[in-house]
């Protein structure tokens, strides 16, 4: 019998573990190794250079720029997406009429949920190519075209969108336009997530609040929001990962994948350029390791901050 168990366990694990080791674990481990060499990628020439690549990271202007752009997305993507998603969920669930049974959700909330969720099922590439057309800087672009029609934008001086490196609030305008797409595509999903969490809160809590004379705002801010804490912190962690992965938008939408003039450069774009255009694989791997360490620290930090006593209901 025991022998049978061992064979069964091995049989079931062999293939998944082998695939995972070959295509995921081994590349990660190798990357760590290459990061200590000056390997160019296309030749066999490979020397051990110790921590030189890492030292170089700290004095690299481009990396510094990319790092701050990553931080920008890391702060703004979760912040704006969650705020908008919560606001939409609030309107959806609390915005309806009020009667003796309490406050109702708005009429047609199911339809709104279906529509708002649309971008979530589309791929980032589809969204990026689509927004490339929307953001075009002539009258063929959806936004510039509309604004020119109502005379808000001068035809000779259209909005540059992803080709605009001019800073706005200290951050290149192109980053704000990319941020807008990220929030546009994410808000619906998180609204559905928050709505589901809101609906799983037992009704009697609300009835008690209603009997005590609480209005819809009081109820939302003092009961619903605190009870959503767990869900919001999960959303925060996930959006943090998405924010680190803005590369698809940068890759498709910005001039020379990180431009104009490096205004939209992020870690991933610098890494890819360094590895596959400049042929500095060793240095690129060091960037990767630095990014991984940064990600893990961040995840740990986020979990630590958002962890709190669970409210059982």
């Amino acid at each position: 019998m025991r022998h049978g168990v061992a064979r069964f366990v091995t049989g079931f694990l062999a293939l998944p573990v082998a695939l995972y080791l070959f295509y995921v674990v081994w590349p990660f481990a190798q990357a760590a190794g290459y990061s200590l060499t000056n390997w160019g990628g296309y030749s066999d020439k490979q020397e051990f250079v110790g921590l030189d690549n890492y030292v170089r990271l700290f004095s690299d202007e481009l990396i510094r720029k990319a790092f701050w752009h990553n931080v920008f997305f890391l702060v703004t993507v979760p912040l704006f997406t969650i705020a908008l998603a919560l606001f939409l969920a609030f309107l959806l669930n609390v915005g309806g009429r009020e009667d003796r049974a309490g406050i109702r959700g708005v009429f047609g909330s199911g339809l709104y949920k279906v529509i708002f969720f649309f971008p979530q099922v589309l791929s980032l590439v589809v969204i990026a190519v689509m927004w490339q057309q929307i953001y075009r800087s002539d009258n063929q672009g959806l936004i510039n075209g509309l604004l020119m029609k109502i005379g808000l934008v001068d035809a000779d001086n259209p909005i540059g969108f992803t080709a605009d490196p001019e800073p706005f609030l200290g951050v290149p305008a192109v980053l704000w336009w990319l941020l807008f797409i990220a929030v546009w595509s994410g808000a619906g999903f998180y609204m559905v997530l928050f709505s589901a969490a809101m609906q799983s809160i037992p009704k009697d809590i609300y009835e008690a609040a209603l009997l005590d004379g609480a209005g819809r705002f009081d109820t939302f801010f003092r009961i619903t929001l605190p009870l959503l804490r767990d869900t919001i912190s999960v959303a925060w962690v996930y959006l943090g990962f998405i924010a680190l992965d803005m590369y698809a938008l940068v890759f498709v939408m910005t001039p020379s994948q990180g431009g104009p003039n490096h205004a939209s450069e992020i870690f991933a774009s610098v890494l890819n350029f360094t590895a596959f255009q400049k042929g500095q694989f060793g240095y690129a791997c060091a960037m990767g390791v630095a990014l991984a360490i940064f990600t893990i620290l961040l995840a740990a930090l986020q979990l630590r901050i958002t962890r709190r006593e669970r409210i059982e209901y």
Binding site: V9, L13, Y23, V125, L146, A196
Partner: protein, 319 residues
Amino acid sequence: MSTVTHPSGERARPGRPAPRPAPSRGLVSRGRELGGRFFNGFSHLFLVVWAVMVIYPLLWVVMSAFKDDSEVIREPLSLIPDKLHWDNFTRAWGEGHLGAFFLNTLLVLVGSVFLTMLLGSMAAYVLARYEFPGNRLIYYMFLSGLTLPIYLAAVPLFKGVYNMGIVLPLLGPNRHLMLILVYVAWSLSFTVFFMHSFFRTLPDSIAEAAMVDGASHSRLFFSIMLPMAKPGLISIGIFNVLGQWNQWYLPTLLMQSVAGEPKNQVIAQGLIELSVNQGYKSDWSGLFAGVTMAMLPVLIVYIVFQRQVQSGLTAGVSK
């Protein structure tokens, strides 16, 4: 809520004013009712604005796909084309190779989702329900893949696949089978993580009863445990279908076209190529047709199964 009984016929219907509450609270609730009506209006206004912001761009892309090029340039904003120019679709499908890319994507997806689900559940099941040395180690190894950025592995992954192709051409760059295996490997982390918690919740008593009846371990898994985990399988299945259909980085890295070989790339790559080429060909309507073709099937499937997709994906995130 259920303690209030309405005489039949007098039940408050949505859309009608609510029945008046007790007179002692009349003034307060009338004020509230007014505020409520205002707020209801505001909610609808804002929700409609956001709905338009989501739908309008999508609709614009779909409608532009039916225009001819001169119309795209002349009337870029109109939502109603003069005439339905289906030739944009045939052009994108044929000359833009989107047809081939579409079939490639489907082919890869069928294999990769099936294998991800099978291998992922097998691993998760064993890790969740059997004690053996190394159990925790393997589980955490799978879990660690959740936090590591894919870009870190890009260079060695590319090299590993390239070297593999020298020995076994079927597993080399630009091969469907290779992409399937890479997708499976990269989807295992989340699949194992999710299914692990699912198999933990299944009752022991049924497993014991089956063992008493003489079922083998693998029979117990395939005929009892797997069917019982169906809700979890559907959730994670939807998650994987969407995730792998929408992949772009792995194919861009590993499925570069080779001169003289059939184009094995997937639809995301085709779209990127189309959007780059259109710059000098200025085939705008063809590009719109391409985006529409990449977008509509997923949207239609979503609309049909919206309930499952929504609950599946939100369960995937909040577990």
